[in-house]
Every structure is written in C-alpha cells, then in structure tokens.
Amino acid sequence: MDTMLEATGIGKRYEDFTLRDVSLGVRRGAITGVFGPNGAGKSTLIKVLACQVPAGAGTVRVFGLPCAGRDAAIRNRIGYVPQEPVFYMDKTVQWNTRFAAAYFAEWDGGEFYRLLDRFKVNPLKAVKHLSGGQKKLLALAMALSHRPDLLILDEPAAGLDVLHRRALLDRLRAFVADGDRAVVVASHITDGLDEIAEDVSFLHEGRVILHDDRDDLLSRWKWILYAEGARDPTVEDGLTDVRRQPYGNRGLTADFPAIRESIAPALASGDVRVENASLEDILIALVKEA
C-alpha cells in the first residue's frame, strides 16, 4: 500500500491534555477523516501531522521524509488549513494572497481565483469583513493553489452553510480523484466529511480508539432489531448499546458477518431485522466503552 503520511507512536503534551501513542497511515488517493468529541486531541494531532509542531514522542514521516526541520520540501507539498486561519485582517483578500503566494515555490493564480469565484469570496474585501466560513474557504483556496500533494485540514466545514459545505466536499473529492494525492481532515461527524472519508480514525482522550476503512467498518457494525418474543440468546449475545422496548429491542453488533449465519432463520421469518449503523452510532458506542 502506498502511504503518503505515516505517524508512529505519536505523543504530545499540548495545552491541557496529552496525545498518547497515536499511529495512523494516510493512503495515497484516499480521504482520511479524524473524528472525535471536543477535546479529543484532533487539532493537536493535525498540527503534528502537518509538521507545524514537533511531536513529543514518536515519528511522523511525510512523503517518506521525517517532519523534523519543517523544510521547504515538505512545506511546499502540504496544503494546510488550521482551525483558525491567520490573516492580516485589515488587508484585502488580494493583498493577503500576494503574501501567501510568495511563501510557496509554486502558485497557480488562475486556480486560486477560480476557487474564490466558486466559493463566492470577493478578493477586494478586507479579510475582517469576511464571515467565519468565508475565511475558512479563503484558507482552503490558498492551500489548494500552491499545488500540494497532501491536504491537511482542521474542521474545514465548521461554520459553512450547506451550499458552501457541498462545494467543499466536491472540491476535496476532486482533489483525490486522480489517485495521486490525499487528504487528512479533522472534523465532527455531523459536518458531512464522514460521507467522503474512505478511512476513518476515531480519537478519544488523546488516543486512537479505531482506525479503519469506512466501508469495512460500516459492513461490520449493524443494528440488530428483534422482537421481544423471539429473544434468542444467540441474537442478543455480543450486542452493545441494547435498548429494550415493548414493540421491539435493538442492539449494536460490532461483527455482523460473524452472526449473520446464526440469525439467518430469524431474519427470514421477520423476527429479526438488520439496519445500517452510522459512524456516529459507532463512535458513541466506542466512547461509552472506552
């Protein structure tokens, strides 16, 4: 497998908490989503992955190169959008852009203004007059315009309305469509990034509690709904988050393929039904367990 970014055993004391032993790989051609509750450590991890702050322990290798040193070879190939992008607020978008363009080895001005147009950001406005969402999109346009191979984004969808969020998701999908590049994005599941992430990492209290292919994950985790009368110990075995109600119980299984055969007769008779779980369901179950 072709890995663009490899983090191994990352530890980091930062502000008021600690990242512990975080390992994850970012596949070329994929969007990797880092999800977790507030305060799980997403922003700290993103800064370490983007080589913005050094890891306290462990190593980060980007394009096979160690992060240490923050050299131009890495900087030019990473498009980074922090949670709170920094601009000269009193200056116009255009003025800020000249400043950013000079910082990178390459700059595609045509692409930049196409993106501003698509994101409906007026280049002549002072940055302080842009909305929070527009500032995010401006930072994204800058990150995309120096032709990076890897995009690293911290909550890019926060504060965006539905139309701009759709534009963001479409742009990220297009970014990885040719299979040569990759995206790492920290986000809340409710922001819609989970719909486009091929790989997902769940972060909780500074640890990765799950890192997996999204489709594999969703094919293993299912809601099992079953009639009270048909309560079969083999159905209920191994279910978590069981809710009993007078007109049918439900519980979450983390390994549907393993129980598929044993519940087949009850499925056929209609006493048991299977329903897809969402990433949110899975995250909540794992956080409860942890």
Partner: protein, 123 residues
C-alpha cells in the same frame, strides 16, 4: 407486536408503522377486537412524535384495518382475510417482477425462480 422503524427506509415513518401493523393483523399477531396501544404509548416506545402515530392510525382506520372509539382507544377491526391475501399478493407480484427481471440478466429464467420457490417450501 414487533415494530422496527428505520430512518434510512425510503418510506416515511407513519407509513412504516401502518405497514407493520397491517402485517401484524395479517399474521394474527394482532387479533380482531384487540386493543392497540394508545397513540402516546406507541409514540414513546418507538421514539417518534404523537403526530406520526396519529397519522398512521388515521390511515389504518380509513383503510378499514382498525376502529377508533372516542374515549376508548383503537381496536383491530374484523378484517376480510381474503381481502388481506389479495393485497399481499399484489405486493408479492411487485417483488417477484423485480426478482425475475434482475435474474433474467444472468440467464436465470422465471421457471428457475419458481423451482427455487418450490424447494424453499419443501424445507
């Protein structure tokens, strides 16, 4: 009675409730004159609004599956079993059509499907 609602199902919630109550009546899980749970009780148990259940009960009443008596609640009506069977057959026909058409793409004939169905009944 087993009612399982799915937010991802293409049918709206009230329709899922009416369909599953119809199934329970057809299968005998709910018998004629049996009292249905109150709107509020069912809404709470299924985690949906009372409006959703009210709408489902109203549709069931319009279609003659249940009777609602003021102050007493809703009860399963005396339904014509042949009529239930006819309605179910329409559903089965629709599903079979889909099945036979998708099978045909793989060279599986309607006769093959029928043979499979007969095998199922034997087991």
């Amino acid at each position: 009675m087993f009612i399982a609602l799915s937010p991802s199902h293409p049918d709206p919630m009230y329709k899922q409730v009416t369909d599953q109550i119809k199934d329970a009546i057809a299968s005998g899980a709910l018998e004629p004159n049996e009292r249905l749970p109150s709107v509020r009780e069912l809404a709470e148990a299924l985690d949906v609004s009372a409006i959703t259940i009210k709408r489902a009960y109203l549709d069931l009443e319009t279609e003659g599956y249940i009777l609602t008596r003021a102050g007493l609640g809703s009860f399963v009506a005396e339904v014509d079993r042949d009529e239930l069977k006819r309605r179910k057959l329409d559903e089965v026909r629709a599903e079979l059509t889909r099945l036979v058409r998708s099978s045909a793409k793989f060279g599986i004939t309607a006769e093959d499907v029928a043979r499979l169905a007969r095998d199922l009944e034997r087991h």
